[in-house]
């Protein structure tokens, strides 16, 4: 098929490891057919932290994000190698059920994608398929608290039976976040969650991310460096499939150590 020997990329600048990580990734490589999309990436994701992944288009940041809950499984040509450990267990292990993995690692997508169901049923979907609620009252509780935590409750509490698609774009995205936290995951992956939203809706989501950080590890891919600076504690810079630099967000943006990172955040390309 292609050369299976991973090309050794440049060493990542900065400290990729953290104590007691949620995710610990070692030598992760992703191939799409002949394309080597992710090259030897090593990185940890810490608890109660927002990790921002930035980089120019096509640098592999979304691809890497999709490795973490094995969403790349749905793409037939994608091949992922290397070790990705969630709480110390390899997610590619044969004993690991991908369905359970995705219940523990939630995901919010670029474009809001509410199901063609009512607002209530959108949030109740995850708890239902995983049997999280014993009865209707408990399900009501889960739906209510998820919507509250997503900051959507006050706007929708009177119309829970209306279709999810009747909401505005920003509300839909918060509905998708509510849907994700209703399953009570450990990690939430966000793939450019604000790129289809206006600035006000974006600000709401960013506030929400900041609150959610207390309960979840969050990994966010973003095209907006301002957004990365606003919401994240650590930032990872990807370039053409290489993880170039990882570091504390304020240091990366004020004092990048790698030349490529500096060029990107000073706007020389991107």
């Amino acid at each position: 098929m292609n050369d299976s020997i991973p090309q050794a990329g440049p060493e990542t600048v900065g400290n990729v490891r953290v104590p007691e990580p949620v995710f610990s990734c070692t030598d992760v490589n992703v191939h799409y057919g002949d394309k080597h999309a992710i090259k030897n990436v090593n990185i940890d994701i810490a608890r109660q932290e927002v990790l921002a992944m930035i980089g120019p288009s096509g640098c592999g940041k979304s691809t890497f994000l999709r490795c973490l809950n094995r969403m790349n499984d749905t793409i037939p040509s994608a091949r992922v190698t290397g070790r990705i450990a969630l709480d110390g267990n390899d997610i590619h292990d044969k004993r690991q059920d991908v369905v359970q993995l995705r219940a523990r690692v939630g995901m919010v997508f670029q474009k809001p994608n509410p199901f063609p169901k009512s607002i209530y049923e959108n949030v109740a979907y995850g708890p239902r398929i995983h049997g999280l609620a014993a009865d209707r009252a408990e399900l009501d509780d889960i739906v209510g608290s998820s919507l509250r935590r997503a900051g959507l409750w006050d706007e929708v509490k009177d119309r829970l039976n209306q279709p999810g698609t009747s909401l505005s774009g920003g509300q839909q995205q918060r509905l998708c976040i509510a849907r994700t936290i209703a399953v009570n995951p450990e990690v939430i992956l966000m793939d450019e969650p604000c790129s289809a939203l206006d600035p006000i809706a974006t600000a709401k989501i960013e506030d929400l991310i900041d609150e959610l950080r207390e309960s979840y590890a969050i990994c966010i891919v973003t095209h907006s460096m301002q957004q990365a600076a606003r919401v994240s504690q650590r930032t990872a810079y990807f370039h053409l499939g290489d993880l170039v630099e990882v570091g504390e967000t304020n240091k990366i943006f004020t004092n990048p150590r790698a030349k490529l990172t500096e060029d990107y955040i000073t706007g020389r390309f991107g």
Binding site: R102, F109, P114, F115, I129, H130
Partner: protein
């Protein structure tokens, strides 16, 4: 000169006109280097000239050909005033028939009356003159059109826009033909149906429980009650369509789910064309398969388990009709399922839904309006289907819900009413139009609902 020769002449003139127009536009700007000064490309000037040359002439040609026969016949008959003066309409039309037959060489002139021969000779000579006149007229009109445009060609003449305007009219005319045909069909059915309802009260037709359309031609004829209660036909149609949908809806839908969601590219590339072969089988082939194979099998199976199955049964016709509709349902449902955006599936997968849960609760839910629309279209096909039921369902207008009995459908009765000798003043023949009208209205309503549902769904995701 033969009319087809006239058309050839016109075509030749059109080609010449194109070249003339093109050459003229280039000449006006002083050669090929000046083409950039022209408003349009030289070809557009050619096309404009060709259209002015061809279209008016063609219109005149059509009108002429439509009117020619009536006018020439009139003159030919006036050459024998004494012979036509006292003819009844029927005799007159007989005379005209003879006349045309002689002119076209289908009968020997010696066999008809002297006056007819004279009229025929007159007709023939008039026709030759007319054709010659037509040729000259067409040539003159075409040349006038050509010269008119050639004189108008200037660098700033917007030939491209004029040409595109004409193309737009042509497109409009083509769509108009389809609409006019539909209107024509509807009107022809409606008028005959109204005549039927003048003879038979509409309530008897819609609510009568007995169908026996044989009419007595002589007063003493037996067994010809002439009952036109269409309820047994409606129930028969419903029964067979229901059986067909019971077969086609689940099989078509489930195979669409398999093809769209589970099958890998190899399986899909084999199964899909095979399903489409099923759609390509002529319905008459399905018909004799149902009548000669499935009917007898059902009958013998029925015998072994102690059921009395008629050899022409609603079940046989319905089953095979269902098989016929499977590819229709499946390919429509397949389209609808494939149109559900991947992002919805991703959303469900990301919550930890399995593929089956995703399909059942998200994909099918999203595709539901489209699938319902597709099923409604399939129902209207089942109702309108004729050949299978003619061959496999029988003619007996039984009012029954038993699928093992022979029933008959609206379409079958229309066929039997209109096959063979007809008299268009008898309710028997006119009943076919009333049935056709009802059938048309039902399928029209179903199609409108289905298309509305499908379109509403489409808007949501595109």
């Amino acid at each position: 000169m033969n009319p087809s020769l006239v058309i050839l002449l016109l075509l030749a003139l059109v080609v010449v006109a194109f070249q003339v127009g093109k050459a003229r536009s280039i000449e006006i700007v002083g050669g090929a280097r000046g083409v950039r000064d022209l408003h349009s490309l030289p070809g557009h000037y050619g096309l404009l000239t060709a259209m002015w040359c061809g279209l008016p002439a063609l219109a005149v040609f059509c009108i002429w050909m439509l009117a020619q026969d009536a006018i020439i016949t009139h003159f030919a008959l006036s050459s024998i005033p004494s012979a036509v003066a006292h003819l009844s309409p029927a005799e007159r039309s007989l005379l005209l028939n003879d006349l045309h037959n002689i002119v076209n060489g289908r009968i020997d002139p010696a066999t008809v009356a002297e006056s007819t021969r004279i009229a025929a000779a007159s007709y023939q000579s008039l026709r030759e003159t007319a054709h010659l006149a037509l040729a000259v007229l067409i040539a003159v009109i075409a040349l006038l059109g050509l010269l008119y445009v050639r004189r108008r060609i200037r660098a700033d003449l917007r030939a491209r826009n004029s040409y595109e305007q004409v193309v737009e009219w042509a497109l409009f005319a083509c769509s108009g033909i389809a609409v006019l045909t539909t209107i024509g069909i509807v009107l022809s059915i409606v008028f005959e149906a109204v005549r039927f309802f003048q003879l038979i009260p509409i309530t008897d037709f819609l609510f009568g429980l007995h169908w026996s359309p044989q009419m007595a031609i002589r007063a003493d004829q037996v067994g010809s009650s002439g009952a036109f209660g269409a309820v047994p036909l409606f129930t028969g149609t419903l029964l067979i369509s229901a059986i067909a949908m019971v077969v086609a809806a689940p099989i078509g839908l489930l195979s669409a789910i398999y093809l769209a969601e589970y099958a890998d590219r190899r399986a899909r590339s084999v199964i899909k064309p095979l399903l489409e072969v099923l759609a390509g089988v002529p319905t008459v082939v399905y018909g004799f398969f149902a009548a000669l194979t499935v009917g007898p099998i059902l009958r013998s199976v029925g015998e072994t388990i102690g059921l009395n199955v008629a050899s022409e049964s609603a079940l046989a016709a319905g089953l095979i009709m269902g098989v016929m509709i499977i590819p229709f349902v499946s390919s429509l449902a397949d389209d609808m399922i494939t149109a559900v955006p991947q992002s919805l599936r991703d959303g469900a997968y990301a919550l930890g839904a399995t593929r089956s849960e995703t399909i059942k609760q998200v994909v099918l839910r999203a595709a539901l309006p489209g699938i319902v629309g597709g099923l409604l279209l399939a129902v209207s096909r089942a109702i309108g289907e004729t050949m299978i039921v003619v061959m496999a369902a029988g003619l007996a207008a039984n009012l029954t819900a038993n699928p093992f009995e022979a029933v008959t459908t609206v379409t079958v009765q229309i066929v039997t009413l209109l096959v063979g000798d007809q008299e268009f003043d008898s309710p028997k023949t006119l009943a076919a139009f009333a049935l056709g009208l009802v059938l048309f209205l039902v399928t029209l309503v179903l199609n409108v609902i289905a298309l509305y549902v499908v379109r509403k769904y489409r808007e949501q995701y595109e």
